[in-house]
Symmetry: C2
Subunit: 208 residues, 2 copies
Amino acid sequence: MEKHGAEGRERSYRKAAVRRAEILARAIELFAERGVGASLRAIGEAIGVSHAALRYYFPSRDELLVEVYRAHEQGEYDDPPPDSVSAVGVMERSAERNRAIPGLVELYATLTTDALQGEQHPLTRDFVRDRFSVVRGHLADRVRAGQRAGAIAADIDPDDAASLVIAASDGLQLQGLLDPEAVDVRRALALLERLLPASPQVDQHDRA
Amino acid sequence: MEKHGAEGRERSYRKAAVRRAEILARAIELFAERGVGASLRAIGEAIGVSHAALRYYFPSRDELLVEVYRAHEQGEYDDPPPDSVSAVGVMERSAERNRAIPGLVELYATLTTDALQGEQHPLTRDFVRDRFSVVRGHLADRVRAGQRAGAIAADIDPDDAASLVIAASDGLQLQGLLDPEAVDVRRALALLERLLPASPQVDQHDRA
């Protein structure tokens, strides 16, 4: 009886996990196509899941949005760029992927805006803050590698450079979506790449 | 009778304009203190204006948000930095001002996110797109001035540089608000300033 109950519980956990994954997959499709400007109720209607069921698997809109974004990023982590790729190169690849999914940049913008309103969106704030921290860490490692290889000036702070590269990439994608004819994301990021390896600090030190 | 009516109308226009300005001023205070995560109704309650009155002066939440942001920016336009200030320097000043008003960066993030959902927020989309275009134009002029003065490499595209500087400034302020201990906005912007005047294109050309 005990055992049977445990088996039954396990089967129903598995079923719930599968259902949750199905809902997530449909939400990912929906956001990629139509963006995220919708309530949890409207999302449920669009993907054909009752509001009650949706709330069972994703207690809040915030949690669903974070999970959709996390699922997308997992794809990037599963296929990381080789170590030889620079910090800017990593963001160029990411921007290239995002170009195919405009809803994703919208989702990202929504998450970061919600994160700023942290009192109303504590889960989103923690997710976005942690994510920035992790990505800064990864990129700073690549800046350090560039410095060891002599490609990036040794006195550039790797954390500052990492923050700058992320900011540039985020901001350029946003401008590019709003005005694709006026903003060339790829070229502007290439400009940063070209600038980072420079060693103008010699001049700066001379002047100081 | 006709004349009296016209006078009456003019007086009531003036009264309406004053009332609108009062409401705007209170909304500006509110957003600076508490951010924008609120419906038009909640904003009305917080600033002590009935929902009906608020809707009379600002037909939509979008219009109120845009007007609040516009009013803030007017302050910057009224006191523009001297021509000698670089493109990055202009954004450093702006970031410095914003530091005192965290609600403003939140408002800005809300506007840009809404702009991405342009079908639901056409007014915001047009405002944000036009604003980016105007700021890019101003900054590109300063990059060109830097190039004429020999401080910035001549083969850098001024529009790309302008987009990059705006993106970096926007993204850094957001990261800085979320994690002030991990991100030094001023130092990371200074890094971009240091990189922009460089002329690494000599190396790049040699390699090509």
